[in-house]
């Protein structure tokens, strides 16, 4: 996380951070191959850090009805570098890359690609010009196979007929490069977990011979080990002279993988080309947010342990998780760590009543809960993992999304009270630093991180006694994260029990009183948060799969 002592977080994984940030290509034969593939090896390294400018933006402006999303952006990306884009939620990062990808068109300003003016009319044009993009929101077609998704729009075909074997082979090759040779190219994407989908997105980006690959928060849905894998791939790409624009809210990632950083704030470049490793966190944060954040995880007064609020016993869903037992007390924050796919979301959803358990019981305040209705009636709330598909009404205004689980509470005799709903929503919006603050806006127009705040905000409004949070900070910026953590703490201090799932181990450790570790559907470890450290958690999480190889 963005702890002020960023060194502690990033050192462990960081490679020797020489002034030369180009990594040595893995082998010379490969270098030839890359050249043959037209990857422009010579373009990559023509001197120490003085590689060719691939992309240059000057004074780029983009307006949406009512919003000036970009307001004079400057950006310069060089061949073979990882250029990080930083900025708060809504700063305009995704808008910027969508302009590069030909999805949006800039209203003003100039863009040049490899020295030539560049204004892609369509995604196709951008791709042809050598820009591949991994979007923030997954852009896959569920009913197509992995291979078909990877090559969608530029299929391997002869006379309109698919060359299925060739497609599969090329996909397999790319998946191999991505470290995932085990994903069957003909598997439907629908059946892949989120991380698997992210890999397919990356496979698609690699299926183009791109000079510039743009990645919009690729790590948001990835677990720890997957992020490492992602970085390995990025290093491989840059070693071939490919430029990467990397967006993430996790500052330690930026230190790990980034070469230079450009910071956006409110659609303007507030700092350009900062060295990724050496710029103090404090500076990055203040450039982004216009303020400094002293600490991220608020200090926790030893939690006054209340009575058991949630009691889960022997909960099982075949194929997903088995025999899960846990307790959350009033005023306690319990975190669950684990790999993506280890069954945490499923467990949370089953506790909430959204999935039917095959065995076991869930009690809240001693009463058995079997359905969502019962859960909500007993004061349980859940912020699900996938905001778009599971939580939001994109066309409805923010305030109605915020009150989705509580509007009956504001209603009188079945008649809703928009005024009170709006007020309440506005209060939460302020609490979470929602941008823009206008709660009548449709959620669709919010940036990803702000949408996430709406999802979490929903349960802050309600008279929630027990809050189930599934990846609550996914895509949320540093500043807002701090706010969100504070809110969670305040809730706990007020006697609310919190059960939190997060793929970011530091978040679990920093926020929770007690930590549960889940692996392959089993809760394998439990410890107070101050008696366990990140390495131990990671070892526990990974051990199974590393040692056993084949999943059960």
């Amino acid at each position: 996380m963005t702890a002020p002592d960023e060194a502690a977080g990033s050192d462990r994984r960081k490679e020797p951070a020489g002034s030369d940030c180009r990594k040595e290509p893995a082998g010379s034969d490969r270098r030839k191959e890359a050249a043959m593939n037209g990857r422009g090896e010579e373009a990559a390294v023509n001197g120490r850090g003085e590689s060719e400018v691939v992309l240059k933006l000057e004074g780029v402006v983009k307006t949406f009805p009512g919003v000036r999303a970009l307001d004079g952006v400057e950006l310069e990306v060089r061949a073979g570098e990882v250029h990080c884009l930083l900025g708060q939620n809504g700063a305009g990062k995704s808008t910027l890359i969508k302009i590069l990808a030909g999805v949006h068109h800039a209203d003003e300003g100039s863009i040049s690609l490899l020295g030539r003016p560049f204004a892609p009319a369509s995604p196709q044009a951008a791709m042809r010009a050598g820009i591949a993009t991994i979007y923030q929101e997954l852009d896959l077609v569920d009913e197509l196979s992995v291979a078909e998704n990877a090559f969608l729009g530029h299929e391997e075909s002869r006379g309109g007929f698919l060359r299925r074997r060739a497609t599969a082979a090329r996909t397999r090759e790319i998946l191999g490069r991505l470290g995932h040779p085990q994903i069957p190219p003909r598997r439907l994407v629908r059946s892949l977990p989120a991380a698997g989908k992210q890999i397919v997105s990356m496979a698609r980006a690699l299926s183009h011979d791109a000079k510039l690959i743009v990645m919009d928060e690729p790590s948001a849905v990835l677990a720890h080990d997957e992020v490492e894998n992602l970085f390995r791939i990025i290093r491989e790409l840059t070693s071939h002279g490919i430029a990467v624009i990397y967006i993430s809210h996790r500052l330690e990632e930026i230190r790990d993988i980034g070469d230079r950083v450009t910071v956006l704030k409110d659609g303007r470049t507030t700092a350009a080309n900062l060295p990724a490793r050496d710029t103090p966190t404090r500076e990055l944060v203040s450039r982004m947010t216009g303020r400094t954040i002293e600490y991220v995880f608020p200090p926790r007064a030893a939690a006054a342990r209340g009575k058991p609020l949630l009691e889960v016993e022997g909960l099982t869903r075949e194929g997903e998780f088995a025999d899960a037992s846990l307790t959350v007390r009033a005023g306690e924050i319990v975190g669950i760590a684990g790999l993506v796919g280890s069954g945490r979301s499923e467990l949370l959803e089953t506790i909430f009543g959204a999935r039917r358990a095959d065995a076991g019981t869930v009690r809240v305040d001693g009463k058995v809960i079997r359905s969502i209705g019962a859960a909500v009636r007993h004061g349980v709330g859940m912020a699900p993992e996938e905001r778009k598909s599971q939580a939001l009404l994109l066309d409805e205004p923010i305030y109605r999304n915020m009150t989705l689980s509580s509007f009956s509470g504001y209603a009188r005799g079945g008649f809703t009270d928009a005024g009170r709903e709006r007020e309440a929503a506005l209060r939460t919006a302020d609490q979470l630093e929602l941008r823009p603050r206008d709660v009548s806006r449709p959620v669709r127009t919010l940036s990803g991180g702000n949408q996430q705040k709406v999802v979490v905000g929903r349960w802050l409004l309600d008279k929630t006694k027990l809050l189930l949070l599934d990846e609550p900070t996914r895509g949320v910026d540093v500043g807002a994260r701090a706010e969100l953590y504070q809110v969670i703490h305040d809730l706990a201090a007020g006697g609310v029990g919190v059960l939190l799932v997060s793929s970011e181990v530091p978040e679990v450790l920093g926020l929770a009183d007690r930590v549960l570790v889940m692996r392959e559907g089993h809760l394998i470890h439990e410890a107070p948060a101050d008696e366990i450290d990140e390495d131990t958690v990671l070892d526990l999480v990974m051990a199974g799969s590393l040692m056993e190889g084949e999943p059960a």
Partner: protein, 358 residues
């Protein structure tokens, strides 16, 4: 925002710098706001209506010169719109809630035929109205249960119901037109209250009730939620299945009411009545701005949609267009009406939306 900074436990902040955000939010006039979107669309439909009336005036000035005739004509158009209008209100709810109801015409027919069998007529006015409404609601409930609990796609479930209910109506009626000899029912169509035809009053009441239900009640909010994102609605604690059942029952209720209205107008009911109402109702709802995929729609828009259709028919009638020309022109008008809505929307956005950037 500022009040937050003094709260205990909140990290010390340098003064919140959100001037930029404020700057990036040019003040929106209400007109351009998203809330005004349905109003803008409906204005488009009003524009279409105005154009249709103007065409009427131009083509038949002698008729439009007569004030009495014009008033009469307005009532005629509204009366012709009344039964289908009521059905469309129910349909709009179903569509907003993420479904579709192909059986509305058939439900009107069963309800109408059942309430006009000799046996039912013997129970008098109340018996007939009660029967029509109960039949409508029950058939709607069956639809809802098939969809909610049987997990059938709405299209298929209600298509099956459409076929079956028409069959049932034919069975009940012995394929004969059932003449209503109940004068109270028959008189509904000719009664005026304060100069306003009773059928129009019924339509107005149903539309008003529908509007309130959709926009001011928790039921309406649930409908939008269920249609907009079922999973989100479910995870927010809404009983999606029950709500779906209620939506189809509501549509059935509207069909029951419409059955009485139509029976009164035709002083009879028969198995083939309300033929293709499903298409008309869906089309009216969609022209009125309801999203076929659910989650968005307006009752007033749906009403305008119905009015556009019945005004077109009226225009054809006063100009004595032949059926085939009528149909060709109608296709064109439908397309034009929708294009006009879009045009207004976009042009307004362009006119007022983009201030020259500095």
């Amino acid at each position: 925002m500022t009040d937050q900074s003094t709260k205990p436990g909140v990290p010390a902040q340098s003064p919140p710098v959100d001037a930029g955000v404020a700057a990036s939010l040019p003040r929106q006039s209400w007109w351009k706001s998203d809330g005004a979107d349905p109003v803008r669309r409906n204005l488009g439909l009003v524009g279409v209506l105005v154009v249709l009336v103007i065409i009427g005036i131009v083509t038949r000035p002698e008729l439009y010169g007569d004030a009495g005739w014009v008033t009469d004509n307005v009532w005629t158009i509204l009366q012709q719109a009344s039964a289908i209008g009521v059905v469309t209100v129910g349909m709009t709810f179903v569509i907003i809630g993420g479904g579709i109801d192909l059986s509305v015409g058939a439900i009107v027919a069963v309800a109408g035929v059942w309430s006009t069998t000799l046996a039912t007529q013997s129970y008098g006015t109340a018996g007939m109205i009660f029967t029509a409404i109960v039949v409508g609601v029950v058939v709607g409930l069956i639809n809802g249960v098939l969809i909610s609990y049987g997990k059938l796609v709405p299209f298929i479930a209600t298509l099956a119901m459409m076929v079956a209910a028409r069959g049932l109506a034919a069975q009940i009626s012995g394929k004969q037109t059932q003449v209503s000899s109940n004068t109270t029912i028959n008189d509904i169509a000719s009664t005026k209250i304060l100069g306003i035809p009773m059928l129009v009053i019924i339509l107005a009441l149903v539309v008003a009730a529908g509007w309130v239900l959709l926009n001011r009640t928790t039921f309406g909010r649930r409908t939008v939620a269920v249609g907009g994102n079922v999973e989100a609605a479910r995870l927010a604690g809404i009983n999606v299945r029950l709500h779906t059942v209620l939506l189809y029952a509501l549509s059935g209720l509207c069909c029951g009411i419409a059955a009485i209205m139509l029976t009164s107008q035709a002083t009879s009911a028969q198995a083939a009545m309300a033929n293709l109402y499903e298409l008309d109702a869906i089309a009216a709802a969609i022209i009125g701005g309801t999203l076929l995929s659910g989650g968005r729609g307006t009752i007033i828009g749906a009403l305008f949609g119905v009015l556009v259709f019945s005004t077109i028919t009226n225009l054809f009638a006063i100009n004595n267009l032949s059926t085939e020309v009528q149909n060709m022109v109608k296709g064109g008008i439908i397309v034009a009406a929708v294009l006009v809505q879009q045009f207004r929307y976009r042009s307004l956005t362009q006119l007022f939306g983009r201030k020259p950037t500095s």
